[in-house]
Symmetry: C2
């Protein structure tokens, strides 16, 4: 039987590195158009594509991997998916995506549909549904289809995950506000049955307590990651007798809504009220009043999730391993929270 | 054999309309949380979910529909997908998504993977690859799997499509700039082997010609729909001896880059230079200097695409029909192009 073409064969023929071949086939923007074309043509000539299918038939694998996210129209999830694709495509895997719109019923349907589609694994960020339980995952586990969580996870024995240290991200964001002199910091939270939101809340709370400020539970508001929700909540907060002077939001979208509402009330940001978001969505950078936010390295998160999948899918099926990968977030300080330094 | 549960059965039991049941199962935000929960629970009690799978087994259909888009991290494509989901979920179909990153090789792989996953149809917006030919679509057509294009289409006999009138959208955007008194209007175009970009170019050109302004081909620049590309091109345009006083961009992302570059050169928008984008991405509305853009009714486009699919999948296979649906775009005028009216 003829040996199948690998990216190493293509690299050798073109006298370039395998990494460059992988990047070119994978559409990495660092690769010139000319190189990409050359690699694609050579891959075709050498039947690289055909071999993937042949390999699939031989192994009984579909080489399709399912990715389930709450929504695709957030840069965070889109970037995680990009990272997953960058890691899996050169290995001959294909990525198909489903979104849950944060509904448990759609989560169940997504998993069933992906199982029907014979995927080799499911990489997912769970929905916000309060009543989420483990039923949804049993079907996967029973069929021995690798399941890996990223970002929004459930603690299930034997299931690996890739997350960021949300506690630390929230702690540093809140600490930054305290260092800037803000004293009454409200927190726009989200469904805290989801670990990431619980940990952001706990990080915020700990930073307040550690600084000796008073922790006021009434300044913690649970809402959804939507611009309009941010406006609504901010309106309520501005009507308080003793209103907050800073907002730490667990979502950039809610932060954006809060900013719109603050401006409409004729208040200045960050002089009167400061706002910090979470996720580092591109619009936080594009705005004229750029928004301070916490970066979650989503492409890295996607790559690591894919790597954990590859380890599991290639491992001895009789061994159950569980891996918890935690990334360190980075606070990006921008105009919405940076008071002009006072000159003496 | 027991009759399968439909949304009408659920509606009857709960004494609400079938439309409400459909919306509730589909996560429509107009439905209250309480109703949604009630409908979901009733659907579960009545084995609505189970019946979908039973039906799939009986009919040999997978009830999975594949959607292929150039990228998921654009609000336009995410919204089209939302429209497709809103239409297909209540009919028992499930949507799985792939992205091509505008690469022909990934387009081919996406189609193969979706065929492997036994989808009942493929709804797609084609990639920008210059050499795109029809090979990719042959596999689908041969297997009698319905293929429907939306937005970015190819003219293939027998293949239906849902698009907007890009010529009209571009014509009106350019006409608006001319009405505001701008005389030297540049056009940031894109790969014109893709019909939508060709038609936007033609609409722009016709508006210039109809108004009696001089048409200057050197002011038409082909670029990609990326913020950094917009900056790069705008830098070149600002260095021209006779620089443009307005930009009509076929992309909001390129328009945003142009705006950033214009500001960096210390010029005022819209006084010195005016900018109009295309697609009505949410950031065009959120910006302090909001951006005039052309709305493409993406949710409606998704719904109509799904409806065409349903017609085809339910039709007599021996009949070949082709449907071309064209939506009318809407110009949304915002700060980036609206000169303050001169008072007399």
């Amino acid at each position: 039987m003829k040996k199948k073409t690998t990216i190493y064969d293509i690299a050798k023929k073109l006298n370039i590195t395998a990494a460059t071949v992988s990047r070119a086939l994978n559409g990495n923007s660092k690769i010139s158009e000319a190189t990409r074309k050359l690699v694609e043509e050579t891959a075709k000539e050498m039947n690289y594509e055909q071999n993937r299918l042949a390999q699939a038939l031989k192994s009984g694998k579909s080489y399709n991997v399912g990715v389930i996210v709450p929504r695709i129209d957030s840069n965070f999830f889109a970037s995680v998916i990009r990272g997953i694709e960058e890691e899996l495509y050169p290995k001959g895997y294909h990525v198909i995506i489903c979104q849950t719109h944060d509904q448990k019923s759609l989560e169940t349907e997504n998993i069933n549909s992906l199982l029907n589609a014979q995927v080799d694994g499911v990489l997912m960020s769970i929905s916000q549904a309060q009543n989420a339980n483990d039923d949804n995952f049993d079907a996967l586990i029973k069929k021995n289809v690798p399941l890996i969580f990223f970002d929004r996870k459930k603690d299930i024995k034997g299931i690996s995950s890739v997350t960021i240290d949300d506690f630390k991200g929230a702690y540093e964001a809140t600490k930054h506000l305290i260092d800037q002199g803000y004293k009454r910091i409200a927190h726009l939270s989200n469904d805290r049955s989801i670990l990431i939101f619980k940990n952001r809340y706990l990080g915020y709370k700990q930073a307040i307590l550690d600084s000796g400020l008073e922790f006021d539970e009434s300044l913690v508001i649970e809402t959804q990651s939507k611009v309009l929700e941010g406006r609504k909540i901010m309106k309520q907060l501005l009507e308080l007798e003793h209103r907050p002077d800073a907002i730490f939001s667990s979502s950039d979208f809610t932060a954006l809504g809060a900013i719109q509402e603050i401006k409409e009330h004729g208040l200045n940001i960050p002089e009167d009220i400061s706002v910090v978001g979470f996720s580092n969505e591109p619009f936080t950078r594009f705005m004229e009043l750029s928004i301070t936010s916490v970066d979650q390295s989503p492409i890295e998160m996607g790559r690591l999730t894919a790597q954990v999948f590859l380890e599991e899918v290639n491992s001895d099926k009789r061994v159950t391993s569980e891996k918890q990968v935690v990334l360190t977030p980075e606070l990006i300080v921008r105009k919405s929270s940076l008071r002009t330094p006072v000159k003496h």
